[in-house]
């Protein structure tokens, strides 16, 4: 009985305590569940936000990649400035060539004297580009010394349609692809002035059209064309046809070992020819004058003579490049029908010719090529590289047909007293390429002449040697 009295209160006490405990624990669990649900919701929200950010980033990357396919590319580099469409089919480039020379003449006693001084030889901005991936165009005006008051001031203006590598059509004003050295860009020349072959025989530029291309994996290049026709070394500066017939030109050039491991991989040989017919008059004789290397004086000029018929040129040519060494050689002959405009109206056919052989050696180890030099290291005055250094040497000759000269018994087309028959020159020089765009050059050239230095018809004497030291600062891009 006493046990029961104690047990019941104990049991009640236990029930109350455990009931309270259970209620307490339930409340804790209920709070935890709410908390968990909130945390779960928060996590889901954050998860969604992260996924949204990831997806936006993905979409932005896709849109950026798509836009890149349409966004034009702007370029400003050592290769010039320009814009290009994303697909590369439309392209415009802005380039320039500046050549500032100092020309010193050491020909004391020669009359008239060459004038030493500064000379802006070429100031040529160029716009060139491509349309539809295959229609190239080029426009180059001239603001340098070549420009005179009568000419258009346009050096190049042409379109070149590259339908296929083996069939391309070019039309406008451009180099008529006859001379090998003439085809080198004015910014890539090894010497400050081109040779007699380029300056006195082959045409400089003309207006016309040509078909050209590369065949046999680019190992054979051909070109045929028709042009207005210009005098030897001439440039069609008026853009008009002042000749009486068209000039027809053709060239083939072969690089048989190109892209092989042969030691002759840098060998190229070719042949070019042109045929024209010109009937001159006293206003437009159709005949050239032949300049000395100094470019200020003529060593031969026709007198009272006009072109009177066929005007044909032929020129075998070639180059060879191997490592830092390069050689270029070409010969050009022009056969010109002429006639005196006075006296006996004598007619004749004269064969004038010129040839050159020139070598170059890159001391700093770059590979020589027909195109420009890319220095392995640019010049850096703060202790960096020295740029590229190149030694050059050339021998050239320009010969006038002996039949051109008046004799003691016959008046012909030029007097030996005032005109030279042969000009023979040797030149040596050094080129310093500070980088791909800036260059300093120095050439010494000495020329000896046969005839043209005075005397009499019967006893003409030789013109004094011309000695020149030319230096140049060139900027091109």
């Amino acid at each position: 009985m006493q046990f029961k009295k104690k047990l019941i209160p104990a049991l009640v006490f236990s029930a109350v305590v455990s009931g309270g405990l259970v209620a307490g624990i339930s409340n804790v669990y209920a709070d935890d569940s709410d908390e968990l649900a909130k945390l779960r919701a928060q996590i889901e929200e954050l998860d969604q936000k992260i996924k949204i950010l990831d997806r936006k980033s993905e979409i932005a990357a896709e849109e950026s990649a798509a836009k890149k396919k349409e966004t034009p590319i702007v370029s400003a580099s050592k290769d010039g400035f320009g814009f290009k469409s994303a697909d590369g089919n439309f392209d415009i480039r802005f380039k320039a060539l500046l050549q500032l020379d100092y020309r010193s003449f050491y020909d004391h006693g020669n009359t008239p004297l060459n004038v030493s001084g500064f000379d802006f030889r070429r100031i040529r901005p160029t716009i060139d580009g491509t349309l539809w991936g295959k229609y190239d165009f080029r426009f180059t005006p001239e603001f340098g010394e070549d420009k005179t008051t009568v000419d258009s001031g346009i050096v190049d203006a042409y379109v070149d349609a590259r339908f296929t590598p083996y069939f391309q059509v070019k039309a406008g004003k451009f180099k008529p692809f006859l001379g090998l050295e003439r085809l080198q860009s004015g910014s890539d020349l090894k010497f400050i002035e081109r040779s007699y072959v380029s300056n006195n025989i082959e045409p400089n530029r003309d207006v016309g059209a040509s078909i050209h291309g590369d065949i046999l994996d680019g190992k054979v290049n051909y070109a045929v064309g028709v042009f207005n026709g210009v005098v030897d070394g001439g440039d069609n500066k008026t853009l008009q046809d002042t000749s009486t017939d068209k000039d027809y030109a053709a060239r083939i050039f072969v690089t048989p070992f190109k892209d092989t491991d042969s030691v002759f991989a840098g060998l190229g040989v070719g042949l070019s020819a042109s045929h024209g017919n010109f009937l001159g008059n006293t206003t437009n004789t159709g005949l050239p004058s032949y300049k000395t290397p100094g470019q200020q004086q003529n060593f031969f000029t026709y007198t009272n003579t006009i072109g009177n018929g066929d005007h044909d040129r032929i020129s075998p040519q070639g180059y060879f490049y191997y490592g830092p060494f390069g050689v270029i050689a070409e010969y050009a002959q022009v056969s010109q029908d002429v006639q005196l405009t006075t006296g006996t109206k004598l007619k004749g056919s004269l064969d004038n010719s010129a040839w050159q052989i020139a070598g170059s050696w890159l001391l700093t180890g770059e590979d020589a090529s027909f195109k420009g030099v890319k220095p392995k290291q640019v010049f850096d005055a703060d202790g960096g590289g020295w740029g590229a250094w190149e030694l050059v040497a050339r021998y050239e000759q320009n010969d006038i047909d002996s039949g051109a000269f008046t004799t003691p018994t016959q008046v012909r087309f030029a007097s030996p007293v005032t005109n030279s028959k042969t000009a023979s020159s040797w030149a040596a020089g050094v080129n310093w390429y500070l980088n791909q765009n800036v260059r300093l050059e120095a050439n010494y050239e000495q020329t000896s002449f046969d005839l043209g230095g005075g005397g009499t018809i019967a006893h003409p004497i030789d013109r004094p040697d011309e000695k020149i030291l030319f230096t140049r600062l060139q900027l091109s891009y």
Binding site: I52, K56, I59, E62, E63
Partner: protein, 335 residues
Amino acid sequence: MKKLTMALGFIAITLAGSLSATAAEIKLLNVSYDPTRELYQDYNAAFSKYWQAKTGDTVTVQASHGGSGKQARAIVDGLEADVATLALAYDVDQLNEKAHLIPKDWQKRLPNNSAPYTSTIVFLVRKGNPKHIKDWDDIIKPGVSIITPNPKTSGGARWNYLAAWAYALKHNNNDEAKAREFVGKLYKNVPVLDSGARGSTTTFVERGIGDVLLAWENEAFLAKKELGPDKVDIVVPSLSILAEPPVTIVDKVVDKHKTRAVAQAYLEYLYSPEGQEIAARNFYRPTLEAVAKKYEGQFPKINLVKIDDPEFGGWQATQKKHFNDGGVFDQIYAK
């Protein structure tokens, strides 16, 4: 003897002609809108088989897919599509207006306004519909995340927008200000704007973003089929829009490529029983009555408005009012 000689000669010429004729290899480019990949994969195979059996020629159809507006712009800019199968007539109209690639009356050249199949807009939701979405009103509530593409680039997105607009007008006594408010709330709930309908499906289905996808009906069915019925549900709103994706040959291109005949046949075959079966199997609503009847159980009955209804007035007016630069969508989205 003379007759025999002539007959033999005729046979020889015929044989020579037939021997010299070789089966042609023809390529077509079909520039299409975003979600039609599976449809045209099946259809192209069927058409190639049909054309080879009929003519002996081999037809290879390349397909390009993307937002309908973007695809139309690509064709105008020079992409040489032999056929265009886009999401809406306005986009096809651009081929005439901007580039004169097709005639102005292109839509009359094939049946049903050149729409061999139709579709509509439905909601794709997570399994169990956790946000309890039943109709358009539910998706504009705060906390509901909507996935829909950009109407500036996607044809499907424009159908989505117009379906919402039509619903809002109907439920607000044609009050345009209320409709703007409604659509504004809808786009406030859109976290990501893809450029095309397939991109939006990727966002919803693969990336797991959003509570509801405003989808082409065929996309919704396709997603459910590929993911499995335990992952998503389709909710049919009370009102939607009849989407009529049109097709056309691109005249200037087919004449240049000399593929007019086969391109025309390619589109005409969409209307054939086999073409319509393929459309239906890919969850596009067929227009051929017999096939539509066969598959009617597959497609829910929905109250559909049309683009030519008075509240829209056709695609030209609708595009100008809502989707051109500075239009209603730009005004709503900029806020």
